[in-house]
Amino acid sequence: MNPDELRGALERLHDQSFAWALSCCAYDHEQARDVLQTSYLKAISGAARYEERATVKTWLFAVIRNTAASARRSRLVRQRLLALWRGEPQVAVGHGPEDGADASTGAVRAALARLSPRQREVLHLVFYQDMTIQAASEVMGVRLGTARQHYERGKRALRRQLEEREAAYA
């Protein structure tokens, strides 16, 4: 795939890529933008090379996921070092700003945030991105059976949390 074709493919996937980056960055728009830009940079510089072993979407989503994980680790280390230097207690890394999300959206995002990262990822990929569990497992870099397990457990946990919330409001 030549650079122009790659650019076209990335442009077509841009909205979905941003939604995926947002999910990987706990719905922090600023971080999601930075992660997506870094992922594009990896594609431009050849640091991440598309070798046509999977679809462009699967490859790109794996790049975005890895970039987000790396950024999250760096941020965590920076925050801990800063806290250590200031003599403050350890900073709990929570979720980013909701960016104008309504209450119901915020509640669902909070419920998603309480799931394990793998469960959250597979639910997003299957439910929002309309990927198969097989494709989701490739993005996540896990076996199909593992992805299926995360999918089932994630659904159960999310359903339970939403029911508890409804019961609390009823």
């Binding site: 947002l22 999910s23 999601a32 431009i44 959206t105 669902v108 439910f127 659904k155 999310l158 939403l162």
Partner: protein, 141 residues
């Protein structure tokens, strides 16, 4: 037949919707302008390597390695001799003067071949030697 996970799918789709998406062109252009991470790190890596090299040179060339703790040598205490001991070493018996007799140096010094000792260079020894020298001349006459 409706999917039994439809409710969850709908909820997740609604929650995961990104709202406003930054334009692709802007992110792409910014990514193209941005140097790669490795390129951004190069100056720092080079600076760190140079600093490490300078540090190493300083360590190697310094006469005493600054990082190594210098051993603390015990300072030798000056020997203090008690006054009584000093007095004993300088003690002289009251009759020591009797041992200082004339010619005592003959007893304490060994003979030296070819040279006369100091006590032998007296006038009577010289005179006697001259007389001995003269005797054979007298015989010849």
């Amino acid at each position: 037949m409706p999917d039994r996970d439809d409710d969850l799918r709908r909820v997740v789709r609604h929650a995961a919707a990104p709202g406003r998406v930054p334009p692709f062109g802007r992110l792409w252009a910014a990514a193209k302008r941005r140097p790669a991470t490795s390129a951004r790190r190069w100056p720092w890596i080079a600076a760190a390597a140079a600093a490490a090299a300078v540090g190493l040179v300083v360590l190697v060339r310094s006469p005493e390695p600054p990082l190594r703790a210098r051993p603390v040598l015990p300072t030798p205490n000056p020997v203090v001799v008690p006054a009584e001991v000093v007095a004993l070493t300088h003690w002289q018996g009251p009759l020591d003067v009797l041992l200082d007799t004339p010619g005592v140096d003959v007893l304490s010094a060994g003979p030296a071949i070819g040279t006369l000792p100091a006590w032998a260079s007296t006038s009577w020894m010289t005179e006697r030697r001259e007389t001995d020298d003269e005797q054979p001349i007298r015989k010849n006459n």
